[in-house]
């Protein structure tokens, strides 16, 4: 699981580059015991949390990268480093050829950041007021502003609620407005931290379609973190997985499935209620002539399994499915957690 299957390219083609980045946080430890509490006032107990351990990462211009990992893996720390909100303990962070912290003001004018649980919108004002605020603070030329505003209204469907108070909007509407606001100054890179958190299926669909559209038509480099793996798979060709502060996988989703296991599901409907015995597949469930198996497609050919089944019973229907990406990732996380 340490594959780095993307090739290094010319520096000018690189939008984001992290080289051997380390970041450690210190957490004060507290105890429920009174004596410990008193003694910790004099000698606080501190635990070091290694958020990032030698992270190396390159993202090419125009690429969409899914950045995934379990809670506390270091995803948000990476996004904060790349947003100029945090500096590394050691190593180098470069984005658009700049140091995000040292050249903050210049750098942030060229990136967009959306934190799923935070808002840049002015909640007691209409969405339109937040857009106008952004125009002035980001010093967006009027013509470009009008163009982008119209574009965002059209593509994100902001027109219906553009003049409504932000605090009266639904979560999905707020996120659409948030995305529109983040893109108003035409950033070259967009960092999205859990952009669909808490959204319903329709709102999520709209946001995902928009992000894909944005990348395809504008070649905006996008780095997106999410816990929803199916969503990430739809968005990005490349997934970078981080675990305990280190990159554990960097490659395509196809490679990820192959590297872990090409687990598939086989569902057979047969004339008899007794499930056929298939070598190379495990029976998961069987009820009234419908039998579910799982098998590793890299080890066992599906044709072999069907031949075995056909020799034992009459097959009425066949379904095969790839294992959902969530399950693949869950298996990976479980494997990482094993001592």
């Amino acid at each position: 699981m340490n594959a780095l299957d993307h090739n290094a390219t010319a520096t000018s083609d690189i939008a984001v580059e992290l080289v051997d980045v380390y970041k450690t946080f210190r957490q004060k430890q507290r105890s429920e015991r009174l004596l410990d509490t008193l003694s910790s006032m004099l000698r606080p107990k501190v635990r070091e949390v290694r958020a990032l351990r030698g992270v190396n990462l390159q993202i090419r211009r125009g690429e969409v990268v899914a950045y995934a990992g379990p809670n506390g893996a270091g995803k948000s720390t990476t996004v904060k480093l790349l947003s100029g909100l945090l500096s590394p303990d050691s190593g180098s962070v470069r984005s658009l050829g700049m140091d995000p912290v040292r050249e903050r003001a210049r750098y942030v004018s060229r990136i967009g950041v959306v934190f799923g649980q935070r808002t840049e919108l002015w909640i007691d004002h209409p969405v339109a007021a937040s857009f106008e605020w952004k125009r002035v603070v980001w010093d967006i030329p009027r013509q470009r502003y009008e163009h982008m505003k119209g574009l965002m209204q059209e593509v994100l469907g902001l027109g219906d609620f553009f003049n409504s108070l932000t605090r009266e909007l639904s979560l999905g509407q707020k996120m659409r407005a948030e995305l529109g606001l983040a893109l108003l100054h035409e950033p070259e890179i967009l960092f999205l931290d859990e952009p669909t958190l808490g959204l319903d299926v329709l709102a999520k669909r709209m946001i995902l379609d928009f992000i894909k559209h944005l990348n395809q038509t504008q070649q905006v480099t996008i780095m997106v973190t999410s816990h929803d793996m199916a969503e990430l798979e739809q968005l990005a060709g490349r997934i970078v997985m981080i675990d305990q502060g280190a990159i554990a996988f960097d490659g395509s989703f196809v490679r990820l499935r192959q590297d872990v296991t090409d687990q598939r599901q086989l569902v057979l409907e047969t004339a008899e209620t007794v499930p056929p015995v298939l070598h190379g597949a495990t029976l998961v469930k069987s009820e009234i002539g419908r039998h579910e198996y799982v098998f590793d497609a890299a080890q066992t050919r599906i044709a072999t399994l069907l031949e075995q089944a056909a020799s034992q019973t009459q097959i009425l229907d066949v379904e095969t499915h790839r294992a959902p990406i969530d399950e693949v990732i869950a298996d990976i996380y479980r494997a990482w957690r094993k001592p």
Binding site: F25, L86, V113, W122, V137, L151
Partner: protein, 298 residues
């Protein structure tokens, strides 16, 4: 999304502070924040009137006690009634300016730091100083105190025996500016603690400014030199109104009296900048460990 991103004017927006002068930018931002504030007021005029009216009542209530004392005893110590009114007007004007220019918890900076809201400031493409100087500008919803203060000042100035010259007006404005800077610096100085203790110190700026607010109207004459020294430096209550008003009204006749407050404000501001910068370096290393959007933009 018809246009190509490549033909856009990212370069134009890359360094706004360079393209326009800092002062021009601040004025432009103030205008925009004033428009936002006006829109906020206009959205519910009845509510806004109640809001401003109650603010004005609170502000009058704050100075009434001292006003009645001055009336009852025909002045306090070396201060005549009209001089007390001048000091109250001065103190209220200082509070009013702070409320008008540093709303949205800019004055209560420890709340912004402690709640992790500096991140919002840091992703804006401009120096942090510009953001902090402009983001809290609420000239319509936050100016009740200021109007009361100016009213009291004009009333007092009309009754003062002093010749009101241009030089005196300039000194008055410099001292008001210095008093505002002192309170702001004091709040930021204590508020910087929130960089190291975000939860414990979240409300410390509020406590610090309340301390100054509650004591600002008291004439400090007659206090021991040690206590007075403390109230002029460690807790600069004397800088909010007492010391500058003594100088402006001629109670303190020393030629340098009118420059004490600007001098202390300068020292306090420089020290605060030093500590705040250290805090920012710490923030850069540790980031915000907690986040709450309370009081942020609404």
């Amino acid at each position: 999304m018809a246009d190509n991103l490549a033909d856009t004017t990212i370069i134009e927006s890359a360094a706004p502070a360079r393209r326009t002068g800092m002062l021009w930018r601040i004025l432009r931002l103030w205008r925009m924040y004033a428009a936002l504030d006006l829109a906020f007021i206009a959205a519910d005029l009845k509510l806004a009137c109640i809001y401003v009216f109650s603010d004005a009542i609170t502000s009058i209530a704050l100075v009434t006690g001292m006003l009645l004392l001055a009336e009852r005893f025909a002045g306090i110590g070396p201060w005549s009634q009209i001089q007390i009114i001048f000091m109250l007007g001065y103190a209220t004007t200082v509070s009013g300016l702070l409320n008008t220019f540093f709303g949205y918890n800019v004055l209560m900076i420890s709340r912004r730091i402690g709640r992790g809201q500096l991140d919002h400031t840091l992703i804006q493409p401009q120096p942090m100083l510009v953001s902090l100087l402009t983001e809290g500008f609420v000239p319509f919803s936050g100016s009740a105190n200021l109007l009361c203060g100016i009213g009291l000042l004009i009333w007092a100035m009309a009754g003062l025996a002093l010749p009101i010259t241009t030089g005196w007006i300039v000194l008055l404005l410099i001292n008001i500016f210095a008093s505002v800077a002192s309170v702001l610096a004091f709040s930021f100085l204590w508020g910087s603690l929130a960089f190291w203790a975000p939860r414990a110190a979240e409300e410390i700026s509020s406590s610090a400014t309340q301390l100054l607010d509650q004591l600002k109207s008291f004439p400090l004459d007659g206090l021991s030199p040690v206590l007075l020294g403390g109230l002029m430096t460690v807790v600069p209550v004397g800088m909010v109104a007492w010391s500058p008003c003594r100088a402006l009204l001629g109670i303190d006749a020393a030629p340098y009296a009118g420059w004490i407050t600007p001098f202390v404000a300068l020292l306090l501001s420089l020290f605060t900048i030093l500590i705040f910068r250290k805090g920012m370096h710490n923030y850069e290393r540790t980031g915000s460990q907690r986040y709450s959007n309370l009081g942020h933009r609404g």
